[in-house]
Amino acid sequence: MSELIRLVGLERAYDTPAGRTWVLRRITLDIAGGDFVTIMGPSGAGKSTLLSILGMLDHAWTGEYWLHGEAVHRMGHKDRVALNKKHVGFVFQQYHLIDDLTVAENLDVPLSYRDVRKHERQAMVADVLDRFHIVGKKDLFPSQLSGGQQQLVAVARAIIAKPAVILADEPTGNLHSTQAREIMELFRTLNRQGTTIVQVTHSEENAKFGNRIIRLADGWLEGTPPAAARTSTPAPTPTA
């Protein structure tokens, strides 16, 4: 499998009145195309921050980030947005559907930002509605759907623009077990169809759907470096 994502020495810190707080330290990581990676770790370990950086929503980091062979760390904001649009789809724990839009309109949103022509968009939306068996819900608003249905729509929205990678932040965190399993099955299916999945989860159950687990603790990748080095090694100052 070809290499899709490569991180080298990636670091992220926040400046707070109490001083600098490190969220991610020296992350070096490769993710191959077609991987189903699970990022796990306790709260505050830096999982969601890593996902935001992978999705190019967070820009205040240092180090190297390669996506599809392109050097994200050398790109300006505009190019990063363009790269995000081309390769990345998001699924959030709180679904984050837009309340005032119907299911079909929510699915249309990512396409509208990719300058897809209207009739093509309509065809793509119809196709995804059909694929996800939610045609009957296309005119409903998010508030009229159950949590599982909302997350189903959110996944559909994430894949509609055919991204190379789906970044899922606790995608089943608000769902009961049956709904959670359905969503995870969906991810597995998508993964088998070639979509790379990177999920953040606390659930060992969900992690079993993936083929690789990355564990984070206090901003460090598990096993690197030795625990003794974590407090003594100086780190470069992050730049925005």
Binding site: L57, K85, F92, H96, L97, I98, D99, Y113, S143, A161
Partner: protein
């Protein structure tokens, strides 16, 4: 009571916790209440307030009418009034008055010009107002021989006589005649407008000519009699009088109408209503702002209200709690508004260059306070009820994490509706103000037929004390004009009456030799009495023939100079053949024929009225007592600087001739049209306030919308939205609001424009500036107000936005 105290305490605490929002709300209400209170005090006096008489609802006017000419509030003659008084069965004590001006002299002082009135002896008894010093006129005081008395206003008594306690019985000289002071009227009383002195008519109705219509009647309805009944009664009497005296009363009648109709004409009342409407708009716009603010805060409080509901609070209880907060805000705004109103009144006083009629009161009195209280409470309800009802419906959903209130969509629509209404009302106000201001500017720029800039004018009453005769007037006229003309800065000086553009007129019927017209159809012209240098002074060169002889040879000859408009009408097409033509003024033949010796360009006699034709008579032929002295200054001389020289020339010629109203002619014009300027300034100020309030409203709604949609914007950015996409998303709402607001405003102003034609001068009610430029300007400001928060939305950090959910 305990619950009320609880509500109040909580309301105050909540408001204090949101100081910024509370301050904005209080300020908005204060502005709305402030302008309303300040304006209401004036408008109320004009439109609604009881006149300052005893039992004012029963005081009515008795007017002469000429249905064919549309005259409804005309004068009556002494004999007509006496007949109506004797025969009517519906009126108590019919009185009469005529506005006049007096020259008052006392030992050791120059003559003063005092505005006053000639009155029947029973006038003040009819009005129910008594002197505070001395006593009222007695019956018989208004008959010849009994009239050597006078009543003074409190102001005149205080100013001129230093509130002399021994004033009663003192003799003062009024128009050269000694009169005994009977008493002093109450402070502030200046019936009917700004009069300071009242003298009895001294006329015997039995012998006075029936054709001399000199005064207006004022009466009191008998108990149980309606205005309609009194009107029918008086009309019937007048028609019998007309049948009895067809020679002088044909086509004339009399009517009973509210006395207020005489005091303020329909036009003034319309302007007053317009101004009141405009300030009501300002209050509505302010209320819409505050309501929007309340709705905005409602979202933040949805959870609190849901908790209260869950704990057992009824909807009524919650509405009451929220309304209490709004009423506390309104009351605070109302109090601040009262303070603003006092400043507003001072500003208004500064804008008014003339003395206001005594019944117009720019003050905060009981009625004004009642109005302010009502406006405050109503505005509290107006801006509080909708948000309170909305918020009180907050359901248990608000208690769940990650959900929006079910009512937020409806609330958004209400907020948008408020902003559209605000923009619409502001635009109506802006368009109306623009039309008024442009109308005023066009009035100001009207071509008057000559250059007014180098002219200085003053009024003189050439009724020299005790020695008033025609030869004396002629002699005075010659001496004063010659003396003034001898001043180095003066090019030429003349006397004229009426002074063009002063608002005074002397319109008379004219019969032209060889152009017979049916009786009653005779055209009217302005008849001016002028001294020989008038045409030089006004730089009016004859178009044909000549002007009056500068050596006074025309003084007593039956000759006239006419304006081109008059000449063309009867000697078309050029009017040049008018020379030698003859005409007669007035409808009886006693006046004799006047021969036209010259034709001069037509001038404008009034800035407001339609232009008419003029005929000029030599002063010797029409030696009126009150004349305007006009001087043309040399190039480069400021006419105002000549005022002292004019006064001293007048004093030197005759100190007993009062000189007053000394103004440059541009100032005369300005005073004539001050009302239009004043209304334009008021409306302009209100429109500016409305403009700012509406811009704040648009900003508030868009900014709130952005704040509310932060998560959505974050999601959209995560899904690939560029800054331009976000800007477009937010601006779309702003554009929609602005377009809807403009459509409402233009439609509203368009609907009003037909009414506006009644109060506009020299500007089309479909004026392009008002209907195109102003909406575009408002749109630009409103779009900017929505661009500011929209721009902020593009800077949303999606990570932050999604994390805060």
């Amino acid at each position: 009571m305990d619950i009320l105290r609880q509500d109040l305490t909580f309301a105050v605490r909540t408001l204090l916790a949101n100081r910024l929002a509370t301050s904005i709300a209080i300020l908005c209400i204060a502005i709305g209440i402030g302008v309303n209170t300040a304006t209401f005090s004036m408008v109320d006096s004009i439109l609604f307030a009881p006149l300052p008489f005893r039992d004012p609802a029963r005081v009515v006017g008795v007017f002469g009418v000429q249905p064919r000419l549309g005259v409804r509030h005309g004068a009556l003659s002494h004999p007509d009034l006496a007949d109506i008084r004797a025969r009517n069965r519906t009126l108590d004590g019919l009185a009469m008055f005529a506005q006049d001006a007096f020259s008052v002299a006392d030992s050791g002082r120059d003559a003063d010009h005092i505005v006053g009135a000639e009155v029947s002896a029973n006038l003040f008894r009819v009005l129910g107002v008594s002197p505070v010093v001395g006593h009222d006129f007695l019956d018989g005081n208004d008959l010849p021989g009994g009239d050597g008395v006078v009543l003074l206003s409190h102001e005149l008594w205080s100013d001129r006589y230093q509130a002399d306690p021994g004033i009663v019985g003192r003799t003062i000289t009024v128009n050269g005649v000694p009169r005994t002071v009977l008493g002093v009227m109450p402070a502030g009383f200046a019936f009917p407008f700004v009069q300071k002195m009242w003298v009895p008519f001294g006329v015997n109705p039995a012998t006075a000519p029936r054709g001399d219509r000199i005064g207006v009647g004022v009466a009191r309805l008998k108990a149980g009699v309606s205005l309609t009944e009194a009107d029918a009664d008086v009309r019937a009497i007048a028609s019998r009088i007309a049948e009895t005296f067809p020679a002088v009363n044909a086509g004339r009648g009399a009517s009973v109408a509210p006395f207020r109709d005489y005091l303020s004409d329909e036009y003034t009342r319309m302007l007053a209503a317009l101004v009141e409407g405009a300030v009501a708009f300002v209050l509505l716009i302010a209320c819409a702002n505050v309501a929007n603010l309340s709705l905005t805060r409602a979202l933040a409080r949805e959870r609190e209200i849901a908790v209260r509901s869950a704990l057992g609070a009824s909807r009524l209880r919650i509405v009451r709690q929220l309304l209490t907060e709004n009423l506390v805000t309104a009351v605070a705004g109302g109090l601040l508004g009262l303070l603003l109103a006092t400043w507003g009144m001072e500003a208004m006083r500064a804008l008014i260059p003339v003395e206001l009629p005594f019944w117009i009161r720019l003050e905060i009195n009981g009625r004004v306070l009642a109005f302010t209280t009502a406006a405050t409470l109503l505005s509290g309800l107006a801006f509080g009820l909708v948000p309170a009802l909305q918020l009180s419906s907050a359901s248990g959903e608000a208690l769940k994490d990650g959900t929006r209130g079910s009512s937020s969509g409806a609330r958004g629509r209400i907020r948008n509706g408020f902003v559209v209404t605000q923009l619409g009302l502001s635009l109506v106000l802006l368009i109306v103000a623009t039309l008024m201001v442009r109308g005023f500017l066009s009035l100001q720029q009207r071509d008057v037929g000559y250059a007014p800039a180098p002219l200085l004018a003053a009024q003189l009453v050439i009724r020299a004390q005790g020695r008033d005769s025609i030869p004396q007037r002629l002699s005075y006229a010659r001496r004063i004009t010659e003396r003034l003309a001898a001043t180095p800065e003066v090019v030429s000086a003349a006397l004229v009456d009426p002074l063009p553009l002063s608002g005074n007129g002397n319109s008379v019927r004219v019969v032209v030799d060889g152009h017979p017209v049916p009786r009653g159809d005779e055209p009217s012209v302005s008849s001016l009495s002028v001294t020989d240098r008038f045409f030089d002074t006004y730089a009016l060169r004859p178009l044909s023939g000549r002007v009056f002889d500068p050596r006074g040879r025309d003084d007593s000859l039956p000759v006239a100079v006419v304006s081109e408009r008059f000449a063309r009408q009867y000697w078309p097409p050029s009017g040049r053949d008018a020379i030698g033509g003859r005409f007669r003024l007035g409808l009886d033949s006693a006046g004799g024929w006047l021969t036209i010796v010259g034709v001069v360009p037509t001038i404008r006699m009034d800035m407001v009225d339609a232009p008419d034709a003029q005929v000029y008579l030599p002063y010797g032929l029409a030696p009126r007592a009150q004349m305007a002295l006009v001087a043309r200054v040399a190039p480069g001389v400021d006419p105002h600087a000549l005022a002292p020289a004019l006064r001293s020339a007048a004093r030197a010629v005759d100190p007993l001739v009062p000189v007053f109203d000394v103004y440059s002619v541009p100032d005369v014009i300005s005073r004539r049209i001050w009302g239009f300027r004043f209304v334009g300034q008021l409306l302009g100020a209100f429109a500016a306030l409305a403009f700012v309030l509406a811009a704040i409203g648009v900003y508030g709604v868009i900014a709130f919308s952005v704040a509310q949609r932060t998560r959505e914007v974050g999601v959209r950015i995560a899904l690939g939205a560029r800054p331009a996409d976000v800007l477009r998303l937010v601006m779309r709402q702003g554009v929609w609001l602005v377009c809807a607001g403009l459509a409402v405003g233009v439609a509203g102003a368009g609907a009003l424009s037909r009414l506006m034609t009644l109060v506009l001068f020299g500007v089309s009610p479909a004026d392009a500036v008002a209907f195109v430029a102003i909406p575009l300007a408002l749109a630009a400001v409103a779009l900017f107000a929505s661009w500011v928060p929209a721009r902020r939305a593009t800077l949303v950090n999606p990570v932050e936005a999604l994390r805060h959910e």
